[in-house]
């Protein structure tokens, strides 16, 4: 069956003042793909993901998610997306359980279903012990875990994840990876940004690297692995980060 790509962006551009944060990005992510979106700090990753989430309108270009155009079908698209946003989009004064239940209800789940699923997800992410704790009191890793648990509650087809492993300990990261791989096996698509290249190398089918707002690599992981370079070598080479650092005299 001819499936629409999970993500299709054409000539996407986002300009902040005189600077183009994203400059003519064209990208296609097929459904069922585990896609890694990489780039150095300030390359335009978060801006891209914010545009995909509908948080920032693009200056120009087209976005199509699961065959539907943004922003004209924003509500239908959002119903099928699971978000692991940056931490600022969490609600600090709700407990983990309340937050996940709230997100479930935002996706129009019945209140009882949302609460039951919230409990199950908390248990799955090993957060049951912190059920009554406020999110504001969570550690960074726990915040990421609760965000991912909330993203799963409505069984989305597409996940958009901004640095999901940031601050997560090894045990938590292993758990999250297993859950994500399981989602991909069941047909979901995952689009994630990460600075942890080892994780991307191990999980992703396909990788894109963005630098100064422009796409510099969009390859399958198998094609990238065919050479002698590691993903880290390729990343450093394409973003031009090999610089000589001189020690400061006084240091």
């Amino acid at each position: 069956m001819d499936q629409a790509p999970a993500i299709a962006v054409r000539e996407l551009r986002k300009v902040y003042g005189a600077k183009a944060a994203v400059d003519g990005l064209t990208l296609t992510v097929p459904q069922g793909c585990f896609f890694g979106f990489l780039g150095p700090n300030g390359a335009g990753k978060t801006t891209t993901i914010r545009m995909l989430m509908g948080l920032a309108p693009p200056t120009s270009g087209e976005i199509e998610l699961l065959g539907l155009r943004m922003p004209s079908h924003a509500v239908e698209i959002k119903k099928q997306i699971g978000l692991v946003p940056d931490e600022t989009l969490l609600f600090d004064h709700l407990t983990g359980l309340e937050f996940i239940e709230f997100v479930g209800r935002m996706y129009a789940l019945d209140r009882k279903v949302a609460r039951d699923r919230a409990r199950e997800l908390l248990a799955l992410f090993e957060l049951s012990g912190s059920e009554r704790k406020l999110i504001g009191e969570y550690s960074k890793g726990m915040r990421k875990r609760v965000a991912m648990a909330a993203a799963l509650i409505h069984r989305p087809k597409l996940f958009l994840m901004d640095e999901p492993f940031e601050g997560v300990d090894a045990v938590g990261a292993r758990l999250m990876k297993e859950i994500l791989l399981d989602q991909v096996r069941h047909g979901a698509t995952i689009f994630l940004t990460s600075h942890v290249l080892e994780v991307v190398e191990r999980l992703c089918d396909r990788v894109a690297i963005i630098n100064d707002g422009r796409l510099v690599i969009d390859e399958s992981m198998s094609a990238l692995r065919s050479g002698s370079e590691t993903l880290e070598d390729i990343f450093v080479r394409v973003v031009g980060a090999e610089r000589h650092t001189e020690m400061l005299d006084w240091l």
């Binding site: 989430m53 509500v75 978000l83 946003p85 609600f91 600090d92 004064h93 407990t95 209800r105 504001g136």
Partner: protein
């Protein structure tokens, strides 16, 4: 209300219930007491309105009274939040935008939240409605006309808030918008001064023209069955809804990050640079570095810039009507016009300079606790910064007065500086206590304060008069002895007492900060909820 809207309300209630056990009990009690007093006062007004309107008086007179009253309600609802640079509670759209919620649902909640910016008017209108319902001359259904009038005000306020929030999110345009507001405020005065007062009078007298929303409401609320009045009222309500919805949609697609980035940071000019470096020339480190940092941080915070500009522009204009009056009472006010404007500026600056000095730069609070600096030095640096900006504000006010060729004598200058500084001394003393005992995280990028205007006015009614008692005594001495010497002598005594009060409050604030450092850092690192208010 559908499931999503119910879920938002539920989550907000949970947020408040979760926050309650962690909130500062004394701050909470004070807040409740201030709220009870303020809204109690408005309940008295509502009761008075009910008593007056329940009498079957002359219908024409009642139409005039009701039209005028409803016009004042409209003005209060729409203008006071602007005057106080406050936006009331509102949805945290940034957080909710990621979910599949129809915009109509969000708008409905946002409109309901506009009540928070003018609870006083709702109380008053309940009194008006009750009075009309008790009036034997008026049919029972007639007071229902107040419902579309409330909807009209809510939608209009929602639209205005969206416009202002977007304007104030834009660098430079924000400052220009304040000047535009000043011009609007100055227009009536300019008309009077240019001899065009007859045109103004005609305009003011037409307040009860039947095409106005308040007059149409007044007529229908008394049982008037003329369809034209009903159409006028519903027409205004529909227009306000369309306006509010249109502005809300524009805000949903507004990218504040892009707006903030449109003007890239520039190196400050020589004067600005010198203004920011003076503390290091005057004080030894760490004091010099701390004051310099505070000046840099505050002068870059949009909220601070807005209230600072408002202080010497808007403040001058709104008090202008009393400047030229010669009647007793008002005549005395006009003599003290300059001081009055300076004290109003203190009210505006209070939120950013006195009451919550760690709220704007909350990450810095954490640094202050780990840096090898005495906490008292940090507080002192913040107070020096506050006084510096107060002095700068007074100077700006005087400069504008001089530009407008207003009569400003040397004695009046001295009076304005000394009165404002003495009140500031008491305000920083109270501010040190509130900043360490009840710190609140504030987003410095938001120009408009999210709390309701009523809270600010309650502060005006309660805290400022208390802080102003020593100054009041100085004025009483001047009046009693008809002597400037007596005035300045009492002011000098007030400042000496103020210094003692400051010293005591500083000791107490430092002790509280040392004792509650973990709580302070914890509170300042809390993020926003679903509704900011």
């Amino acid at each position: 209300m559908n499931g999503q809207a119910r879920a938002i309300v539920w989550a907000q209630v949970r947020t408040m219930l979760n926050y309650f056990p962690k909130s500062n009990k004394s701050g909470l009690v004070f807040g409740i007491a201030v709220g009870a007093l303020w809204y109690g006062l408005w309940s008295v007004f509502a009761f008075a309105a009910m008593t007056v309107l329940s009498e079957p008086g002359d219908p024409k007179a009642m139409t005039l009274i009701l039209s005028g009253g409803l016009l004042l309600v409209f003005l209060y609802w729409q203008v006071i939040p602007v005057l106080m640079a406050t936006a009331g509670a509102s949805l945290e759209i940034r957080k909710l935008r990621v979910y599949p919620i129809p915009h109509a649902q969000l708008f409905l909640i946002e409109v309901m939240l506009r009540i928070t910016s003018s609870v006083e008017m709702l109380i008053l209108l309940i009194g008006v409605g009750a009075g009309l319902a008790l009036n034997p001359r008026i049919p029972f259904w007639a007071p229902l006309a107040l419902v579309p009038f409330i909807v009209f005000n809510l939608c209009f306020a929602a639209g205005t808030r969206e416009i202002l929030t977007r304007i104030f999110a834009r660098k430079r345009i924000r400052e220009a918008a304040v000047f535009l507001l000043v011009l609007c405020g100055a227009l009536p005065q300019l008309l009077i001064m240019s001899g065009e007062h007859s045109r103004l009078e005609t305009f003011v007298r037409s307040y009860n023209a039947p095409w106005t929303p308040w007059s149409a409401t007044a007529l229908v609320a008394q049982g008037g069955t003329a369809l034209v009045n009903v159409f006028v009222l519903l027409g205004w309500t529909t227009l306000a809804y369309l306006f509010g919805r249109w502005q809300f949609e524009r805000s949903l697609s507004f990218d504040a990050d892009a707006e903030r980035a449109t003007t890239t940071a520039r190196n400050p000019g020589a004067l600005a640079s010198a203004l920011m470096r003076w503390p290091s020339a005057l004080f030894a480190d760490p004091m010099g570095a701390l004051v310099e940092k505070e000046i840099r941080s505050l002068s870059r915070a949009p909220r601070f810039r807005l209230v600072f500009v408002m202080g010497f522009t808007f403040g001058l204009v709104i008090w202008l009507p009393i400047a030229g009056r010669g009647e007793a009472g008002i005549g005395m006010m006009s003599q003290n016009y300059l001081t009055l404007v300076c004290v109003y500026a203190l009210l505006l600056l209070g939120d950013v300079c006195f009451w919550n000095t760690f709220g704007f730069d909350r990450r810095a609070a954490q640094f202050y606790f780990v840096a090898p600096v005495r906490f008292g030095t940090v507080l002192l640096a913040k107070n020096v910064t506050a006084l510096f900006f107060v002095l700068l504000e007074i100077t700006a006010i005087i400069a504008v007065c001089a530009l407008l060729r207003m009569p400003v004598t040397g004695l009046k200058l001295l009076e304005a500086y000394s009165v404002t500084l003495v009140i500031s001394l008491y305000l920083v003393s109270v501010g040190n206590l509130t900043s360490t005992r009840n710190p609140r995280p504030v987003n410095p990028e938001k120009s408009m304060r999210s709390g309701g205007a009523g809270q600010m006015q309650a502060l005006l009614v309660l805290v400022y008069p208390v802080a102003g008692i020593p100054v009041f005594l100085a004025y009483a001495a001047r009046y009693a002895f008809e002597s400037e010497l007596a005035f300045f002598l009492v002011l000098a005594i007030a400042s000496a007492i103020g210094a003692v009060v400051y010293w005591v409050s500083m000791e107490s604030a430092v002790a509280a900060a040392e004792r509650k450092r973990e709580e302070i850092v914890d509170r300042l690192s809390q993020g926003d909820g679903l509704i900011q208010g």
